[in-house]
Each structure stands twice: as structure tokens, then as C-alpha cells.
Amino acid sequence: MTAVGDRPGGGTSGGDTPGGDTPGAEPLFEATGLGRSYRLPRTSPFGPPGVRHAVRDVTLRLADGAALGIVGESGSGKSTLVRLLLGLDRPDAGTVRYRGRPVVPGRPRALRWFRREVQVVFQDPAGSLDPRMTVGAAIAEPLACLGVPGDHGERVDEVLRAVDLDPAVRGRYPHEFSGGQRQRIAIARALAPRPRVLVGDEPVSALDVSVRAQILDLLGQLAERHRLGLVLVSHDLGVVARLCDQIAVMRDGTLVEQGATDAVLSRPAHPYTQALLAAVPRLPPPHEVR
């Protein structure tokens, strides 16, 4: 495993310091030697149980305000990695640090400081929003849970405007909205505690093409405006290339390649990255020159 910037077959990182962090600046996330394995059901009553290494020796860092994309196919371990980064699961090996402090799963209260700063948007907004809760209540909920002081109603209106929704939708229920609008609500909810990092686990994969483009643009704008760090997990190279300046390619639990997105995608060093890139179906170029 190599650290960010130390790409295998290196020397090709195009002069970009990944993440643009200056030496000595404290990274937001720093994961070192992360490992997580699961015991598989026994296939024979006599043999030892099998073990699946979902994540193996993963080391990565996210600089302040940087955007890191984690790309992998199904079973690559990217979701397990995100659960470890979020302190939702305990690693067998290695550590996760956020701004220098260890992130260790435990009682909810113990990680409150972390949850205020790191918020998540999931793939399916229909599943992540409580259908019995109004939009306003859903957005205010994390503020109350995290003990954020101040007028939550005002903050709800602010974040709704930030995701281009009319604050008047506060009193309505999730089912009254389209998939794209629901994802906007989920993003508003994540923004409410003024996080420093937004983690997106396949945040646009369930959306139609035209809606997907709008949500991607919105995420990009929000990240820029609020100087948010972004960790974006996706199976879609194009989505990661659109939003992230750093990329980590995952396969079978390990990071096979990481570095600056432009450098990795224009000169992929690992055969798997090359195969992944070659497999993306392409549109023919338009006739008119833009």
C-alpha cells in the first residue's frame, strides 16, 4: 500500500500535490493501515471458517477542502471503507484519525464532535428520510441530536435555500417530492450542522441522468462555497472525475492506485484502473464545437 502521491509506477503524478495540502498542514481524514475482515459461514463442519478481507491495509488522507473519490466495483470494499471512515464500524487493524483525533466507534455521545463535522448523504433518499417526519423536522433532527445551539428553524430555511428548494416546503412530507428533490432534502439535512466534510455514498446512482447532473453540480457548488471536504464513493468514474481532485481506486479490499484525479485518469498506472477506464461506455463527440 502506498500513501497518496506515491502512486505505483510513480513519477507520473503531473506535478500536482494531491489535495494541494502544504507539508505540515493537518489533514481532515487520515486512515493508516486500515483492515476489516468478516468471517464467512463454514462450508464444512470440519474445516476452519473462511475469512473475507473486505478492506486490507488501506492508507489514505483527505486534505482540508479537498475532494477525494473512492471508486470501485461491487464487492471492492468501498462501502466497508466508508463505514470505517465514519466510525460506524471498528477496524481489525489500523486507525482512522479526523483532524488528528482518533475516530473510534462507541457510545453515540463520544463521537458527537465528529458527527457535527462529518455528514453523510446516501444513495437512496427514499430510504434515508423518515416518511413520517416533515422535511423541516428531518432537517432539524441532527441539529437537536448533536446539541447544536441556536434557532434551528432559521437554519432549516437557510439550508433549504442552499439546495435551491423553497423554504415553504418545510411542512411537507418526503413522499410528496421527486427523487431528485428528496436527494436535495437529504443534502440540506447533511449541511444543517455546518459540517466540514460531506461524505457521499453513491449519492447520484439512483437518479435519472438529467437529475443526476443537477445534483452533481449542486454538490460541486456547495463544496466550493462552503469549502467542504468531500469524500465521494461511486462505481462511476465519470462522477468522481467531475467532482474530485483526488481519486482512490479500490479492488478486492485494497487501494490499487491513488493520486491526483487528472494524473491517474490520464496515465493510469495499474492495469485494473486501465481496464475500468476502458470499460466506460463513451458517447460520440457532438458535431458542433463548444
Partner: protein, 292 residues
């Protein structure tokens, strides 16, 4: 295209479900061996159009218009007539190969089932054919694989099983509804290449239904863009994708290109599909970036 040479001719097809015309006057035609794409977002009516062609609409759906295969009308046909055609003249593969397959039946039997039903193959002949068909769709160790159950296979292998069964009787028309949407991108590339090769070899026409414009570019020659149950644009795949005329098609393409500009060109030799990937140079995508 004149009516005489059309293999499939769909004219003014309407499907009414729950008081709404979810398919609202769709017309298109396919010649023998031709590959046509039906493109649309969710709710565009693309899947219901396919199900209407196959006579597989859910109960309660009211269908009018005309669907002719080899000139013979399918709308209003009896279930018996339709099931005689399905599997023999018309075949379909779906998005989820795991739900399309019977979990309790060995895959070899499922591959050869159309041959038993429509071609009167004996059990032994069908078993032999299953091994050949499994090999033809690139399944590993076909002798052993035909004896396994669907859950023992990967998603890509299961879709290969569905393709083998669909093409077993060399149907005149294969309808593929989002056949690669549930698959990983590297597996998708393999399945698209396989599908393209097999329909060409068998002379089977292909109606390919997808929301993904780049996928449709890889496998079809002509396409129809659907929105709210209507065809908004038709043309050759190249013309529509490179110079869309309809505002909705333009919007759809702009959205799809958004996640393509940032991907650099790859060596065409490394690409598994036949079509060389043509994307703009890194310079032009840097200019098109809005965010970071």
C-alpha cells in the same frame, strides 16, 4: 422503411394504466437483423412499450394500436398464440438476471428450455445443446456450469445464462431491457460486446432499451428517444447523439456528457467494445469544468 420489409412494426401504440396513457402513441419499426435503441428516463414508457410488444403487460393495462411481427398482428392475439412466439420468434432479457431465472432449476435446463418447448428437443439433446450454448456465451467450464444453480453464479454469468436461453432458438427479435444496468462497468463492457457479436452471428434483430445514452451508442444503429410515453426524436444513433434536434434530447445529452468530459481518451486497443472511445482532450474538459 416500407411496411413490406419490416420485421417488427409498432404503430400508434397506446398503453393505458390507471387512467393514464403511459405509452401515448408510439410508432417505430425494425428491419430483420437491425439494432434499434429505445432511450428514455424513468417513466418514459420504454419498458411498457417492450412488454406490450411481448404481450406481457400487467393485468389492468389497456393496449391499443398495432404491433406486427412479420406482418402478423400481435395486439389482441390469444395467450396461446403469443406463447408460441415468445422464446421462438421473440425473446427478452431483463435488467435483473437473478429474478429472471428460476432459483430452483439448474441453469443448463433453463438455457435449453426454449429448445425443449419450441423445437421438441429430447432431454439428452437439450442437455448437449445447453453446454454448447453456455460455451457460446463465454461461460467458464460449461460442462460443469450447466449443473449449477443461479445463486452459484455471479451477476454477469447469470446475465450470460439469460442471453444463452434467449438466443437458443435463434429468435427473429431480441428485446433487451436495461440488460447491463445492474452490472459492474467492466462486466457491462463484456456483456455488450458479447450481445453485439451474438445477434450479428444469429441475424437476430435487437431492440435495446436503456436510460444510458453511452450504452446505446455502443450497440445500436438507430434509436428513438421517449419522453412521457411519446417518441420525441428518431434517427441514426450517430446523428441523434452528435447533433440532437429535439430540446429534450439535447438536455439529456448535455447531462450525460457532464460526467464524460472529465474522462480522458483511452487507447482504443484497450477498449473492449468495437466503437473507439471518442472524448474530448483534457484541455477541453478543463475548460468545461465548473467546480473544482
Amino acid at each position: 422503411m416500407t411496411a413490406g420489409e419490416a420485421l417488427l412494426e409498432v404503430t400508434d401504440l397506446r398503453v393505458r394504466l390507471g387512467g393514464v396513457d403511459v405509452v401515448d402513441g408510439v410508432s417505430f419499426a425494425l428491419a430483420a437483423g437491425e439494432r434499434v435503441g429505445l432511450i428514455g428516463e424513468s417513466g418514459s414508457g420504454k419498458s411498457l412499450t417492450a412488454l406490450a410488444v411481448l404481450g406481457l403487460l400487467p393485468p389492468g393495462a389497456r393496449v391499443t394500436g398495432s404491433v406486427r411481427l412479420h406482418g402478423a398482428e400481435l395486439i389482441g392475439g390469444s395467450d396461446r398464440e403469443l406463447s408460441r412466439l415468445r422464446g421462438r420468434e421473440l425473446a427478452m432479457i431483463f435488467q435483473e438476471p437473478s429474478t429472471a431465472l428460476n432459483p430452483l432449476m439448474r441453469v443448463g435446463r433453463q438455457i435449453a428450455e426454449p429448445l425443449r418447448l419450441h423445437r421438441g428437443y429430447s432431454r439428452q439433446a437439450a442437455a448437449r445443446a445447453a453446454v454448447e450454448l453456455a460455451a457460446a456465451v463465454g461461460l467458464p467450464d460449461p460442462q460443469r456450469l450447466v449443473r449449477s444453480y443461479p445463486h452459484e453464479l455471479s451477476g454477469g454469468q447469470r446475465q450470460r445464462v439469460c442471453i444463452a436461453a434467449a438466443l437458443a432458438c435463434r429468435p427473429a427479435l431480441l428485446i433487451a431491457d436495461e440488460p447491463t444496468t445492474a452490472l459492474d462497468v467492466t462486466v457491462q463492457a463484456e456483456i455488450l460486446a458479447l450481445l453485439g457479436r451474438l445477434v450479428a452471428e444469429a441475424g437476430t434483430a435487437l431492440l435495446f432499451i436503456t436510460h444510458d445514452l453511452a450504452v446505446v451508442a455502443a450497440v445500436t444503429r438507430r434509436l428513438a428517444v421517449l419522453r412521457h410515453g411519446r417518441v420525441v426524436e428518431t434517427g441514426t444513433t450517430d446523428d441523434v447523439l452528435r447533433a440532437p434536434a429535439d430540446p429534450y434530447t439535447r438536455e439529456l445529452l448535455a447531462a450525460a456528457r457532464l460526467t464524460q468530459w472529465d474522462l480522458p481518451t483511452v487507447d482504443a486497443a484497450a477498449a473492449p467494445s468495437e466503437r473507439g472511445p471518442d472524448v474530448p482532450s483534457p484541455a477541453s474538459r478543463a475548460a468545461s469544468r465548473t467546480g473544482r
